[in-house]
């Protein structure tokens, strides 16, 4: 954990939904470092997903600046953001977002088809312990398995950052732990900077650092002196 991989300066995000203006982010300054596993903790609507979307190049900040290493994301157009996502970022979503008409292997292949230096889909699936489910379709797998396919899909491009939006939100405690182990394992093994969003406070124990959100602002950052392994976490 040396130099920041993400740096934000006074980031705000305002949604204009008809009449009401919603301040999803009200000025966020945050550094995230290479190789760290950070947990963004906060209640629904606190702005953590919005920040993740902006860090991942899915959304634009209303004001403020965001850097990925030396690359200023806030200065990029649509095309630049697409290239950035394609080359550097892996996403994991709460509802897995697998394509139902594609098998596990093909869902991963969706990424390896366009990434510059990907691993083989089977290799990525082996990393999440799904070597035996390569040709199953999403409808034929449990929620935990589907989420691990999503993780395999995210890491198959060997991303520098892995952004996870409530990865265990739709899972029970036992399968949720399996997913967290997969994430922890990737972080350990490849040094992939991993950002996990959750409103589940129990998960904070596995992080290097915990960033607390409330009403679109960071209310605190704490470092875990000792991290707890995912299998020791329960909720």
């Amino acid at each position: 954990m040396d130099r920041p991989i993400f740096r934000t300066e006074g980031v705000t995000k305002v949604y204009d939904t008809g009449g009401a203006r919603v301040h999803a982010l009200a000025g966020v300054d945050l550094d995230l470092f290479g190789g760290e596993l950070a947990v963004l903790l906060g209640p629904s609507g606190s702005g953590k997903s919005t920040l993740l979307n902006i860090l991942g190049g899915l959304d634009h900040a209303t004001t403020g600046r965001v850097w990925f290493r030396e690359l200023e994301l806030t200065g990029l157009g649509d095309r630049g953001l697409t290239r950035y996502r394609r080359n550097h970022v892996g996403f994991v979503f709460q509802f897995y977002n697998l394509v139902p008409s594609l098998s596990a292997r093909e869902n991963v292949q969706l990424v390896t088809d366009v990434a510059p230096n990907p691993m083989a889909p089977a290799e990525a699936l082996a990393l999440v312990g799904l070597s035996h489910r390569l040709d199953h379709f999403p409808a034929e797998m449990s929620g935990g398995e589907q989420q691990r396919v999503a993780i395999a899909r995210a890491i198959a491009k060997r991303p520098e950052v892995l952004l996870c939006d409530e990865p265990t939100g739709a899972l029970d405690s036992k399968t949720g732990v399996q997913v967290l182990e997969a994430l922890n394992d990737i972080n350990d093994r490849f040094g992939t900077t991993t950002v996990v969003i959750t409103h589940n406070a129990a998960i904070r124990k596995m992080a290097h650092r915990v960033v607390r959100f409330q009403d679109g602002r960071i209310t605190g950052v704490e470092e875990n002196a000792t991290r707890v392994a995912p299998h020791e976490i329960a909720w």
Binding site: N53, G56, L58, D59, D78, R79, T82, R83, R85, R86, N87, V89, F91, F93, F95, N97, V99, S101, L102, E106, N107, Q109, L110, V111, D113, V114, A115, R153, K157
Partner: protein
């Protein structure tokens, strides 16, 4: 294969029913385009090649008798590249084994072989010997119809003498691609023959030694045809010229022109309708798919697929539908063009077939189909491309229903909740509802336009055969006869009534407009053949005036009371100014009528007739024909009973084919629109409908909501469809109108009712297919899916 392509193929397979419904409509467009445009080009190219190779003339003329010495003067007309003179005439034929007489058109062959213009092709046998008097070549279709081979003999009444003629060979000629005899409505290869006879024999038979009565001109590329026709008329005037004309009036050529024009109109009108409907269906279905795959689109973008790649993915889905449509269309189109080629082979006599639709027409049809599908897909594909990934990952906002003026109106109606849901959904997507109505209305219109033709033809046949021309037979003479010939005819066996009729070739002028036609004049009191107007009233031309068919009046720009110049051709070319007494609506030909005495007086001749109409005792028909075969001066007979029957038979057959084809088309359009409409609704409302089921609604109550919307739109489409059908029928009557015939606009309530029944029935079947899916809806699964 790329994962995205695998998804594409699987999506396509999953959507097969909807894709097929669209592909069928698109395929219809491709097939009709292929057939109409392909055959239009094939027919035009075939004809052009035939004319080019066989030097089909550009200008034609006939006279009573002109000296050969006139030829150098004609050849000197600026723009004339070649002159061919000949002797022509009409004879009555006696064919072994045939009771009725047949009519032969004699054309002379030069001494040195085939003519330089209108060169026939020798198909079998040899040319007649130039020195022989009893040898002829006949047109191949006539030989085929009777099974004649070279060496067979027929008899002809040549200038009052019955002579045996030996067939030495068979010909096909560019002049007779569509071979139609005098007074016939369609080709009759048994009853009408072209006889090519050596010059000397023909000249002797028609008293034309050292003279000619037919001439053809080939023009240079830049020649002014109208100018050449005027100069030729001037030269032939002293010799009884009947007026020169160009290819546009040459009978065979003008029939092919009409067919080509019809194909061209069809290619311009029908396929665009299908392509537009296909585009709308693709738009509707793809729009729904993009809505459903919202989160997948977000995912693709999050992973790093560019907007363009996402856009392309959905365009390619439409492309696959288009490919299916193209494949169906090519298969159906190839079959249809083949069927049409077979049909043409019955009517048109070409020596070679270029009846194959060329590959570039296939390519063009495919490109148009792809563009249509692409245009339909582009809105949904662009919506997918422009969807921001962050927005795409979140569920869509619910559609905004709000209280509008309509809602207050609906509220006042006190509709049940399901009825309210149907009404609101229609109003919520007014464009989609409107286009659905339009699509179904087009299906109704297609049906109306198809059946209208049937009724129109009934009216034509009734007007032409049962009101105007009620004679059983017409006897035509090679030269006008004194009225005393009527007594002679009356004495023939089986003849019950006799009426004479005079034809006078004339050029009608009004200002700069002019038209060459034959004026008909009948003695007073004639009843077999009469002029009948649109209201069924008999019109009798008053003395010293002329009555015109309304289409002729339009061409001359005159109305009742206007005066026109009548320039008589073929004799003393005198011009008289006559008032137009009345106009009559007619569907065949361009008629002009004069009082009998006026015509003879103006033409300065003792009363004469060109043909005799007779009423027959059919039991004596054989005896009559036996006498006609030997009757001097007779040029031919037309058996009206037979003409009527063959015309009605052919039409009845065509009407059945046309109605079947159009009804199929209407059903395909209806199913394409109604099935996809209901299918998209089911997809959009699955949750809503499942909720109702959970709340305790029965299956049929729920399906009423689903089926109600589509069926209500189908009902709304009916009046619009009737209106569109009326408009298309009207456009068709305008498109079919030519000098040869016109089609009246006849629309009966039954026509509209039948169209509506077919379309409503097909809509019902389409929604019932979707209802089956609704019945199988897994309530729990539907409620769980994230919309």
């Amino acid at each position: 294969m790329q994962a995205l392509d695998i998804k594409l193929l699987r999506d396509f397979r999953r959507l097969w029913a909807q894709a097929l419904a669209i592909a069928l409509v698109l395929g219809c467009g491709v097939a009709i385009f292929l057939t109409s445009f392909g055959m239009y080009r094939a027919l035009e190219d075939t004809r052009a090649a035939y004319y080019e190779r066989n030097r089909f003339a550009d200008v034609f003329a006939e006279t009573r008798r002109a000296p050969i010495s006139l030829v150098p003067e004609i050849a000197a007309i600026p723009g004339v590249a070649g002159v061919e003179t000949r002797v022509v005439g009409t004879v009555v034929l006696d064919i072994p084994g045939r009771v009725q007489t047949a009519v032969g058109r004699v054309i002379s062959l030069p001494d040195d072989g085939l003519p330089q213009l209108n060169r026939p092709i020798l198909r079998a046998g040899t040319l007649p010997d130039p020195a022989a008097t009893g040898q002829i070549a006949v047109n191949e279709p006539f030989a085929t119809a009777h099974g004649f081979v070279p060496g067979d003999v027929i008899s002809a009444n040549l200038n009052g003498q019955k002579r045996p003629l030996t067939i030495t060979g068979t010909f096909l000629s560019p002049e007779f691609i569509y071979t139609i005899g005098p007074g016939q409505l369609m080709p009759d290869n048994e009853g009408f023959a072209i006889l090519w006879m050596p010059q000397r024999a023909a000249a002797a038979a028609f008293d034309m030694t050292g003279a000619f009565n037919g001439i053809s001109l080939k023009l240079t590329r830049n020649a002014d045809t109208a100018e050449v026709i005027d100069r030729l008329d001037d030269l032939l005037r002293p010799y009884g010229g009947f007026g020169a004309y160009g290819r546009d009036i040459q009978l065979s050529n003008s029939f092919i022109d009409a067919e080509i024009e019809q194909l061209r109109n069809m290619a311009m009108i029908l396929p665009p309708v299908f392509f537009a409907i296909s585009a709308f269906l693709v738009n509707m279905v793809l729009g729904r798919i993009v809505a459903l795959e919202r989160s997948e689109i977000g995912l693709m973008k999050a992973i790093g697929y560019s907007n363009w790649e996402v856009c392309l993915h959905y365009l390619m889905l439409a492309g696959l539908v288009a490919l299916a449509g193209i494949a169906l269309g090519w298969a159906a189109g190839s079959w249809l063009s083949h069927a049409l080629a077979v049909l043409y082979a019955d009517f048109f006599d070409f020596p070679f077939l270029i009846y194959r639709v060329s590959y570039d027409v296939y390519a063009i049809s495919a490109v148009i189909a792809l563009v249509a599908a692409g245009l339909g897909a582009v809105r949904a594909a662009l919506a997918a491309a422009s969807l921001s990934p962050a927005v795409a990952m979140a569920p869509p906002a619910p559609p905004r229903y709000s209280r509008s003026l309509f809602d207050r109106a609906l509220g006042a109606l006190r509709l049940s909740q399901p009825a309210m849901m149907v009404a609101r959904a229609i109003l919520r997507w007014p464009v989609r509802s409107g286009l659905t109505v339009l699509g179904l209305a087009l299906a109704v219109a297609v049906m109306v336009a198809a059946t209208f033709f049937d009724d129109a033809l009934d009216k034509i046949v009734d007007g032409a055969f049962y009101q105007s021309n009620r004679q059983d037979a017409i006897l035509m003479f090679s030269q006008d006869q004194p009225v005393s010939v009527l007594e002679e005819v009356r004495r023939l066996p089986g003849v019950l009534a006799v009426e004479g009729q005079l034809y006078l070739a004339a050029d009608l002028h009004h200002g700069h407009l002019s038209k060459k036609i034959a004026i008909e004049a009948r003695p007073p009191g004639t009843d077999l053949a009469r002029v009948v107007d649109a209201q069924g009233r008999v019109v009798v031309p008053p003395p010293d005036a002329i009555v015109l068919a309304d289409r002729l009046a339009v061409q001359l720009g005159v109305g009742p009371g206007d005066r026109i110049e009548v320039e008589f051709l073929g004799g003393r070319r005198e011009t008289h100014s006559l008032p137009v007494a009345a106009l009559v609506t007619q569907y065949f030909g361009l008629g002009a009528y004069m009082e009998f005495d006026t015509a003879n007086r103006l033409f300065r001749q003792a009363p004469q007739v060109s043909s005799v109409n007779i009423a027959l005792d059919t039991r004596a028909e054989a005896a009559l024909h036996a006498r006609l075969k030997d009757m001097p001066g007779l040029a031919g007979t037309i058996m009206m009973t037979e003409t009527r029957r063959s015309f009605q038979d052919t039409i009845a057959e065509n009407v059945v084919i046309m109605t079947t084809v159009y009804a199929t088309i209407a059903v395909l359009i209806t199913i394409g629109v109604a099935y996809n409409g209901a299918r998209v609704q089911l997809s959009e409302r699955a949750r809503e409908l499942a909720s109702l089921r959970i709340l305790g609604f029965t299956r049929s109550e729920v399906s009423v909501i689903l089926m109600g919307e589509t069926m209500l739109l189908a009902l709304l489409a009916q009046p619009m469809g009737w209106g569109l059908g009326w408009a298309i029928s009207w456009a068709m009557t305008a498109g079919f109108t030519s000098d040869l015939y016109a089609v009246p606009l006849v629309l009966r309530p039954a026509t509209f009712a039948r169209a509506s029944l077919v379309v409503l029935g097909a809509s019902l079947i389409a929604v019932l297919l979707v209802r089956r899916r609704l019945d199988r809806l897994d309530l729990v699964a539907v409620m769980k899916t994230r919309e």
